[in-house]
Symmetry: C2
Subunit: 213 residues, 2 copies
């Protein structure tokens, strides 16, 4: 699978292709053209082909793309078969909702355990996942490969928690703290998930629409 530097826009479109392909599979569709796939997602056929061509050649001239094969290719591109180990820090409302609700395993993630400072939570299980005391974080990570930490602590503890994870050698942080964590020496990849950024964007569009009418 060739590739040089892939643009961020292209990378962010890959999970959307995956979702569209799953939808097509659910409908029993076996074959799709770049035009049709683009149409589902609101992209041009050109863009679809351009995106895929960054990673290799997955289609067939005159035919299009075989849905199950393309889905598999994209899932490879995204590294979904790697069985990444993850932990979750901060088992308050959001952390709890993620542990109980989000299907980590179908996205290729093994959620090993949660961590919290609250003694009432420590020792309990959420959706079969044990909650451990944050004090054990270092020793827990020490003898394992932890690819990802899902960070759900309150905003004011975010920076400190991120530093701790960085020094433990965690590869990636999925940041739900609503604080920007930008530890200067940070080596981990950070994916920020800011609820209010998304909400405020929506508010802007509501306002714009109102002033146009």
């Amino acid at each position: 699978m060739k590739h040089g530097k892939i643009s961020n826009n292209t990378i962010r479109r890959m999970p959307r292709y995956l979702r569209a392909l799953d939808e097509l599979t659910a409908r029993g569709t076996n074959r799709v053209s770049s035009f049709e796939l683009g149409h589902i997602l609101g992209f041009t056929a050109s863009q679809v082909r351009q995106d895929f061509s960054c990673f290799g050649t997955f289609g067939q001239q005159g035919y299009g793309y075989h849905v199950p094969a393309l889905r598999e290719q994209i899932s490879q591109i995204l590294g979904m078969h790697k069985g990444r180990n993850a932990i979750l820090i901060g088992c308050g409302n959001i952390g709890k909702a993620l542990l109980c609700n989000f299907d980590f395993s179908s996205n290729g993630i093994n959620m090993l355990c949660g961590f919290d400072t609250n003694p009432e939570l420590v020792g309990t299980h959420l959706n079969g996942i044990e909650i451990r005391p944050v004090s054990e974080l270092g020793s827990f990570i020490a003898d394992k490969v932890i690819d990802m930490a899902v960070l759900c602590v309150p905003p004011d503890s975010a920076e400190k928690a991120a530093d701790a994870l960085n020094s433990c050698g965690v590869e990636a942080i999925w940041n739900f703290t609503n604080a920007d964590i930008s530890s200067p020496g940070s080596k981990a990849v950070i994916e920020n998930f800011h609820f209010s950024d998304s909400l405020l964007t929506l508010c802007y569009h509501i306002k714009e629409r109102a002033t146009r009418c």
Copy 2:
């Protein structure tokens, strides 16, 4: 406040400026240059000035920007003072976490009530917000202005729920269903919040990093 067509990238940067300004305020900083503000967020000074210039002139030559004034301007741009009315559909784990956890009011949103089909939830309150039966959705909306619906139903009910909201004249949908809702006749603005898209992007970066080493 002049403006023509603002690029999507610029709009999505506005909430981040807001967050950076709140951080500066918390530190007691009263004045900031485009360079400093950009530095916090990883943008160039040029980009910061270019972004703001889409909406007007908020700075002062030789001085920079007055932090509280700029914050207020951005909050105006985003329409945060409008007191938008919102409802939440689907009070399962994610819906519940949002109702209990997310500070709607500090983002200028009045969360009026939740809706669910589960008779055990109907009539209860979450964080002081009443849960009503979905059957009452139409009549509830009928005599009010509902600017936004936060959609937290299971993926397979997403399309149907979105259609219902559309026909009630809801302006905007904040979509947490992990399904793409793209009702062709849809007039509402839709902001998708897909957990797995974000997670898979992170997985990609982990994989890339691993293959580079």
